[in-house]
């Protein structure tokens, strides 16, 4: 192998400066600042903002897998809500057997119940995701209409099975004693659980960013979202990659289900279906297939829901749809559109 330095006229010019599109990032502080004078008091604003961020973080955890699943294989999984419901119900079963740990004022004992509940919920929901992908989604690759119908049908059947196992009635999912109550920042009260949720959401986001940018699997996911045919031409089995992402996405939805259940403190079999619409709003706002866009979209949805719920409860009924319309009027492909081939 010899090395010949070839001349490359007109090819050595530096490309345009690397510019990161930061405009969507500014939406979150802009929205928060806009709400500050409207809420009337700083303490109310702090409370609402933390509530919005916590809600947004949970939605992000649930929706992140959904956006990657769509990005990789153009699969519209309307059955994602089932994974949320299932996660919450598995947690109820685990926590129900460790109620003494949950009611204890000791943080350590609380964690000894909550952490296994979350992990078991993720494993069980990941396993259900495995079956869901093989049985329900695999036969309808590339057929979007059938995907919508069959995944919705799958969710309906799944929810009925949840009723058979756990009953149709609402069940309590108690918040651990150490997670209850509020912290006071001056006059502003911020619920401890909302702070914890925000921290967990940030950790999940950081972990996803690390995987996507620092590992080869992450690179493959990012590449597959753009051009899956080329990924296959390079020798990688995109189906296997998608399968892994689907299971991970289901497990994350299970985790989100546990967190959402604790947020509400009561769970019903229809809880996943109720959030489904919100999830699709988030991933459309963010740009289908974009994890960063999903994160910003989820926070925006959380903040808008809380601010409008306080300021104009009637507007809150359709505030997320309104937000989506406004964003799509500005950026029709979402905040961070993924360039697909």
């Amino acid at each position: 192998m010899t090395t010949t330095a070839t001349t490359v006229p007109a090819t050595d010019a530096l490309p345009a400066e690397v510019k990161t599109d930061r405009l969507p990032l500014l939406l979150i502080p802009a929205l928060a600042l806009l709400a500050l004078p409207l809420t009337g008091s700083f303490s109310t604003w702090v409370t609402l903002t933390f509530a919005g961020l916590a809600m947004g973080m949970i939605i992000f955890i649930i929706a992140s897998g959904l956006t990657l699943v769509f990005g990789l294989m153009d699969v519209l999984n309307f059955g994602h809500g089932l994974f949320i419901t299932l996660g919450a119900y598995v947690a109820v079963s685990v926590i129900g057997r460790m109620i003494g740990y949950v009611e204890s004022p000791s943080l350590m004992r609380n964690l000894m119940a909550v952490v296994p509940a979350m992990l078991i919920a993720m494993v069980v929901v990941g396993a259900v995701g495995f079956v869901f992908e093989r049985v329900i989604i695999r036969p309808v690759y590339g057929q979007p209409l059938k995907q919508i119908m069959i995944t919705m049908g799958g969710m309906i059947v799944g929810v009925e099975l949840v009723k058979v196992i756990w009953g149709a009635q609402a069940l309590p999912l108690p918040l651990p004693a150490a997670f209850s109550g509020s912290l006071l920042f001056g006059d502003a009260a911020v619920e401890k659980y909302r702070l914890i949720t925000t921290v967990v959401g940030l950790l999940v986001f950081a972990a996803m960013l690390w995987v996507l940018s620092r590992t080869k699997v992450g690179l493959l996911i990012r590449a597959g979202v753009q051009d899956r045919e080329m990924v296959e031409s390079l020798g990688y089995r995109i189906g296997l990659l998608f399968f892994g992402v689907f299971i991970a996405g289901a497990a994350l939805a299970g985790l989100g289900g546990v967190m959402w259940g604790m947020y509400q403190q009561t769970i019903v079999p229809e809880m996943g279906g109720a959030i489904n619409v919100l999830l699709f709003i988030v991933i459309i706002i963010g740009g289908l297939g974009s994890v960063g866009g999903c994160f910003i979209g989820a926070l925006l949805v959380g903040l808008v829901a809380n601010y409008t719920g306080f300021l104009a409860p009637k507007v809150a009924l359709f505030s997320n749809i309104l937000l989506m319309v406004l964003i799509l009027l500005w950026r029709p492909q979402g905040l961070y559109p993924v360039v697909k081939r």
Partner: protein, 245 residues
Amino acid sequence: MSEPMLDLQGVHTRIGAYHILHGVDLQVAKGEMTVLLGRNGAGKTTTLRTIMGLWPTAEGTITFQGESIASRPTPEISRRGIAYVPENMGIFSDLTVCENMLLAACDTKRAEDLDAKRLEWIFGLFPALRKFWQYPAGLLSGGQKQMLAVARGIVEPRKLLLVDEPSKGLAPAIIQNMITAFRELKQTETTILLVEQNFNFARQLGDQVAVMDGGRIVHSGTMASLVADEALQQHLLGLSLTAHQ
């Protein structure tokens, strides 16, 4: 022609209701560059995509090093040592040049583990890639993207390189750079199947030539004989090299 590394016999490809390839017979000799010429819509790109398994083979056989690869899954075909540089270059625009190269090296997990000696050789062929190593590939110019696409195909030693119209849309100076790079690549005895419409580009590189029309091979032979026969060029390609230059 020496022993064929790739052998297509009577290959038909159908895409939905369309019958694109009508019995393609093509041999690619080991260690040589075979150029596939033909006008737009002749079936050149479909031939490459069928070899890669991106379109299923409806009829006929495709043999690579004596083993059938017809309609095998694309990743399996790639893992047998066939690299594919598509017409649209297939660059991952959100990934850096480095990340694009890393993905092309299937069994390498980290950029630091890429074969440094081979990388230096590639930088010798395409110096711009060293300069823009950490830049998002989407910011590169068209010529730089084509360099990256070819570099990705050779980041690891491959038995066969399929390249689809590497000169398309490039400035003459960059085309000359490509020719130099392919000449260097030929010295390593890499087997190449090159699809081209630019006859002037193709005649400088090809050892063998096959001309397609209407989804069939209508001529095959040595490039030297086609270059020497102006009447044949006129007949097959509707042009003569003299007129083309």
